[in-house]
């Protein structure tokens, strides 16, 4: 509850700053509407915003899920196959180097204007963080555990070690990758919508912009921000639940 209180306080502070900038800067409403105008627009367009928000949310969630599966598989391949390393590592690095907005129009042409291209965009944008982090975790399994496993196994059993030791040990690293992914996946989905769409918050923002409905534009922006924040906290909460052992409990008593 304390966190909620702090969050609300920050929100109130931001709203104050916003109103201050509009009033003191004498900003016209077509540049930056004041908080009350945006709030009114939020209320008026609640149904529309909800509808578009659920489209974007679906794109983000599917993109994150598929992107994580693809990234996880890639990291495992990189970790356990030299041939895969040779071929996949350059692809992985290229996926990070190419700016997503350059690929976006191509994706839209290939996959159409529906959900497919937006999901692909979200997948693309999270592919590198997820894979790189997970791969890093797989590569850096603590030596002590690997030694223990070697002594326990008269014949080496790579898959057993992967399943029982290396993979669980790499999950915190995957978790870091997922936190980054949660922050950037919305960007991918919205970029995809900007290139071509018929629904979603990005589409709504484009629409509102060209119709000079700046308050609706900002209302959609706020909903998107809320979505992104919500996603991040959901991922964080999920990780805390599935990896309760990480980070380790700091309050262990140091006696027998």
């Amino acid at each position: 509850m304390k966190g909620l209180g702090r969050g609300l306080l920050t929100l109130a502070g931001l709203l104050l700053v916003w109103q201050g900038v509009v009033t003191l800067g004498e900003l016209p409403p077509y540049i930056l509407p004041d908080p009350s105008a945006v709030a009114a627009s939020l209320w008026r367009n609640a149904n529309s915003l909800l509808g578009h928000a659920s489209v974007t949310a679906l794109e983000i969630v599917l993109g994150m899920t598929l992107g994580t599966l693809l990234g996880g598989a890639t990291a495992l391949a990189l970790g356990y196959s030299r041939r895969a390393r040779r071929w996949l590592l350059p692809v992985l690095i290229a996926s990070q180097a190419i700016p997503v907005f350059a690929i976006a129009p191509l994706l839209v042409l290939w996959l159409g204007y529906g959900l497919g291209s937006k999901i692909a965009m979200a997948m693309l944008i999270i592919y590198f963080p997820v894979t790189a982090n997970f791969y890093d975790g797989l590569r850096h399994t603590p030596r002590g555990w690997l030694d223990l496993a070697r002594v326990m196994l008269p014949e080496p059993r790579r898959w057993a070690v992967l399943r029982h030791i290396a993979l669980p040990a790499a999950l915190p690293a995957l978790g870091s990758g997922l936190r980054v992914a949660a922050a950037v996946a919305p960007i991918g989905a919205v970029l995809g919508e900007w290139v071509g769409s018929s629904a979603g918050l990005g589409y709504l923002m484009l629409h509102a912009n060209s119709r000079m409905q700046v308050d609706l534009l900002f209302a959609a922006l706020l909903v998107l921000a809320a979505l992104a924040v919500g996603l991040y906290f959901a991922v964080d909460a999920g990780l805390k639940r599935w990896l309760p052992w990480h980070p380790p409990n700091p309050e262990t008593v140091e006696t027998d």
Binding site: R6, G7, T10, G13, L14, V17, W18, V21, G25, E26, L27, P28, P29, Y30, I31, L32, P105, V108, L109, G112, Y113, A183, W194, V195, G196, S197, S198, Y203, L206, H207, A208, N209, S210, R211, M212, Q213, V214, A225, V229, Y232
Partner: protein, 323 residues
């Protein structure tokens, strides 16, 4: 993201936006005029380029800086915010922006006919407007293009619900060519039709002004309402007229001047677009047909694009003589 980071991000973005308003009253540079085009340089801007290259601006003692926007919706806002002196925009957008409170006024016209059209692939499933029923239509700019479409569909006894609209964000020809959509609105007849021809998949155009839409100026020149006393604006429009006449009288030399400045535009597409654009340039850029603007505003009100038709003098003016 931590709360602190979010706060910093918001403050940063506000800091970027705020100076725009404060800069509205910056002192006027006596010579240099900044003009924000509506899009990348293309044959629609022929008169501006020729005025620059053939010295018509210089003859009026003007130094003009032509800039291109990141987003076609930006130029009027930039003029309103005082960041640029002049902007090129579309008459329909002018009505929408002014109704939203932007302090801008039209002071001249570049292209005096509509260029916007509904384009389909020739030999495709759409032969008449009525064939659009149940089909996907791509568009670029929300608001006006939907109104255009509504009026054109009404002429074919269709309702907006009878079609699916997809925002293809200016990727009009590619989306049509890849058959992702069956038709596009927002295609300029002097440009996209030539694009399709060159791709060996010719298009067929339906012209709004022939299908229930009132005629309007496709490209107009706007300035900030509070800067209209600037004597340079009148001289600008005069230079524009002289350049336009030059274009009519010497089309080949004018083309050469155009591509000297923009070598990347010396290709078949632009050559054809140039040929199709010249007849549509406003012969008398300064002239304003108030009744025509009033009729179009009322049309927009009827289509629900704007709520009220403001007096034309609010947003369009024929500049008084500078002599």
């Amino acid at each position: 993201m931590s709360n602190l980071f979010r706060a910093a991000l918001l403050l940063l973005s506000l800091a970027v936006l705020a100076p725009g308003a404060w800069a509205a009253d910056s002192p006027v540079n006596d010579k240099k005029l900044t003009v924000m085009l509506d899009w990348f340089v293309n044959p629609d801007h022929a008169a501006l380029i020729v005025a620059q290259e053939k010295g018509f601006f210089a003859a009026q003692n003007l130094e003009v800086d032509l800039q291109t926007p990141a987003d076609p919706n930006d130029p009027p806002k930039l003029v309103a915010a005082g960041k640029v002196d002049l902007a090129i925009t579309y008459q329909p957008q002018l009505h929408i922006h002014v109704n939203a409170g932007l302090p801008i006024k039209r002071i001249g016209t570049l292209v005096a006919t509509p260029l916007n059209s509904l384009v389909v692939l020739k030999g495709g499933p759409v032969k008449t407007l009525a064939d659009l029923k149940g089909r996907k239509i791509g568009y670029s700019v929300g608001g006006f293009e939907e109104a255009l479409l509504k009026a054109m569909l009404a002429k074919a006894d269709l309702k907006p619900e009878d079609v699916t609209l997809v925002n293809v964000n200016f990727s009009l020809a590619p989306s049509l060519l890849s058959k992702q959509v069956d038709a596009v609105i927002g295609a300029f007849r002097n440009f996209e039709l030539n694009q399709l021809d060159l791709a060996k998949k010719p298009g067929q155009a339906f012209y709004p002004e022939e299908e229930g839409v009132l005629p309007y100026d496709e490209l107009v020149l706007v300035a900030n309402r509070d800067q209209l006393n600037d004597p340079r604006l009148g001289r600008f429009v005069i230079a524009l007229e002289q350049a336009t006449l030059y274009l009519l009288n010497h089309p080949d030399e004018a083309w050469k001047a155009f591509v000297v400045k923009h070598k990347d535009l010396d290709d078949e597409l632009n050559r054809r677009a140039w040929r199709d654009t010249l007849p549509r340039l406003a012969r008398r850029p300064a002239a304003l047909d108030e009744a025509r603007y009033k009729r179009f505003a009322q049309f927009l009100v009827k289509q629900g694009v704007i709520t009220v038709a403001l007096p034309v003098s609010n947003y369009a003016v024929q500049l008084p003589s500078s002599e």
